[in-house]
């Protein structure tokens, strides 16, 4: 079983990101469980979403305290919340940022991947300039780094789950898949 936690801000599509990834993974006949941090989501406020992936049925129904990997949709959250809380040693942190992974060594003994999802989202006209919607623009990276499912499944999931700008979202996911930078701390 793999457990992933998503960090984002209300309105960025964090919950949608976890859902699209869940649908993509489920297409490959795995069991998934995806849920938001239960509560009232408010625009701009930090939000969390969770994803469990398993080859068999998932019985644990509690929230995720010790995720295997973390996905951060907004770089400013790195300073605002403790995104690595409970993260298992050796887990991946996949961050939307302009920075290179080695510039984020301070996050700790984790594997770090970065992608400039804002740029990808903006190029593809997703969201507005001030509030780009980065969910698909980070998922390509997540799929590439974590190998949870194939890019084709992700693209199919984007097509079925993202209500508008389908082609642009697919393009963003592909671009993200290509452009992600991976780095293992200490190597």
């Amino acid at each position: 079983m793999e457990e992933i936690r998503f960090h984002g801000r209300g309105g960025q599509g964090t919950v949608v990101a976890s859902k699209v990834l869940a649908v993509a993974i489920a297409m490959e006949n795995k069991y998934i469980q995806a849920f938001p941090e239960f509560g009232v989501e408010r625009r701009g406020a930090p939000v969390v979403a969770f994803l469990r992936i398993n080859d068999e049925q998932i019985y644990e129904k509690s929230r995720i305290y010790e995720p295997d990997h973390i996905v951060v949709l907004d770089p400013t959250l790195l300073n605002a919340v403790n995104v690595t809380e409970g993260l298992k040693e050796g887990g991946w942190i996949i961050v939307n940022t302009e920075k290179r992974p080695d510039e984020l060594r301070q996050l700790g003994n984790f594997k770090i991947a970065t992608v400039d999802a804002y740029a990808i989202a903006a190029e593809n006209g997703l969201g507005s300039k001030t509030a780009p919607i980065v969910n698909t623009a980070i998922l390509g990276s997540v799929v590439r780094i974590l190998g949870l499912c194939g890019l084709e499944s992700l693209i199919d999931a984007v097509k079925s789950e993202v209500p508008s700008k389908r082609d642009q979202n697919v393009a963003a996911a592909k671009e993200s898949f290509e452009k992600v930078l991976g780095f293992k701390n200490g190597e």
Binding site: K19, A22, N29, K30, I32, A34, F35, F38, E60
Partner: protein, 385 residues
């Protein structure tokens, strides 16, 4: 067909596959996506049903009762305060013997305002004459709604399919959607013997003097008792057709169990993980999940509990001044039996507080040093000092 569905959408799909004909519902968090999808399904013609967008839950149930009495398959969904507002009509639906199916999302009662889960809303409706099924995952939500209509329309008693707020309602899970043709074969269309029909005009629910009321209530109880067999049969045949059998209860590793965890809903799902982890430590622990709470599976519970050394009942609900409600029922079921183990009654997770497998292991291990509970009600996880 495998789909990724949140519990709320599982509700809508359950109603669609059951070919509900009249839906009357009022929105309430955390149920809203269920009615939104149903409204969409009706508007797009995917579901051939009339959606009555009523002005309250009380009216929702009243409309369902009217529709059912007129011979249509009726469905509604609600939660917490909404279910409480329906209370009068829950009695009405059962007393009128209208086989309405209701999905209730367990939401803790206000005040203070809360939207998270516990079971006090549905358990407060225990004595209304509704059958109650507590689901542990979204698959079971879809499957139980279909089974609910089959049992309900034979027993002529309404069914409440219950699921946890957020833990299921807003959680995406992999769900295998039954095939419509197979569902149609499994669940014949609703054709009640007595209905509001100008060709055979009858009055329903007229004033009943002391000569009849008692007998009618006796018959309600009798139907409730008989429905145990219906649930077993319906669940077994569901397994034959769809590959997922169901029963009144579900057991896990109980054959050699010395200690038994008894619980319901999603805590039961998580408890399965706890059982596995405790077994890894060499503990002989088993799990009994109470799926159908009304009718209460007394015989089944007796059979399993009488062979264990200790039982721990975990309740996500409370009867103030008494104890957990499942615990009361389990104790009552065991009282007139010779071999009854000590029963520890645990209250936890009220207002949606998270319950993990680690929490359940802690609960079990805390009973280790005790042959008998210190108290009839043990709070787990509440910050007292």
């Amino acid at each position: 067909m495998r789909k990724v569905l949140m519990g709320n959408h599982a509700i809508s799909w359950g109603a669609l596959l059951s070919r509900a004909q009249v839906i009357a519902a009022y929105p309430i968090t955390p149920q809203t996506q269920a009615v939104e999808l149903l409204a969409e399904m009706c508007a797009e013609g995917k579901l051939d049903a009339k959606f009555v967008k009523v002005e309250s839950e009380h009216s929702a149930m009243a409309a369902c009762i009217g529709a059912s009495a007129a011979g249509a398959r009726a469905f509604t969904a609600t939660s917490g305060q909404g279910l409480a507002l329906m209370h009068e009509m829950l009695h009405w639906a059962a007393g009128a013997r209208t086989p309405v199916v209701l999905a209730n999302i367990n939401r803790a009662m206000a005040p203070p305002w809360t939207i998270w889960t516990d079971q006090n809303d549905s358990l407060s409706q225990r004595d209304t004459g509704w059958m109650q099924v507590y689901c542990q995952n979204n698959q079971e939500v879809v499957d139980s709604i279909i089974q609910a209509y089959r049992v309900s329309e034979q027993a002529l008693l309404p069914v409440m399919v219950v699921l946890d707020a957020f833990v299921l309602s807003h959680t995406l899970e992999t769900v295998d959607l039954p095939d419509q043709e197979q569902v149609d074969a499994y669940l014949p269309s609703f054709d009640p013997e007595f209905k509001l029909d100008p060709d055979n005009p009858r009055t329903f629910g007229g004033l009943t003097a002391m000569d009849g009321y008692f007998e009618l209530r006796y018959k309600m109880h009798q139907s409730m008792e008989q429905s145990k067999g219906l649930w077993e049969e319906t669940g077994r045949e569901f397994g034959e057709v769809f590959g997922r059998p169901y029963g009144l209860i579900e057991t896990y590793k109980t054959a050699d169990a010395e200690l038994l965890i008894v619980t319901s809903s999603t805590i039961a799902s998580t408890a399965r993980v706890a059982v596995d982890r405790l077994r890894e430590k060499g503990r002989k622990v088993g799990l009994l999940r109470i799926r159908v709470f009304r009718p209460f599976p007394t015989e089944e519970i007796r059979e399993i509990l009488s062979s264990v050394k200790k039982a721990v009942v975990i309740d996500r609900n409370i009867s103030y001044g008494s104890s957990g409600i499942f615990c009361q029922e389990v104790k009552a079921a065991m009282y007139n039996t010779a071999n009854r183990p000590p029963i520890f009654g645990i209250i936890t997770g009220l207002g949606g507080r998270d319950v993990s497998s680690t929490d359940i292991i802690n609960i079990v291990e805390r009973t280790d040093s005790k042959p008998l509970p210190d108290s009839d009600i043990i709070f787990e996880g509440v910050t007292i000092q």
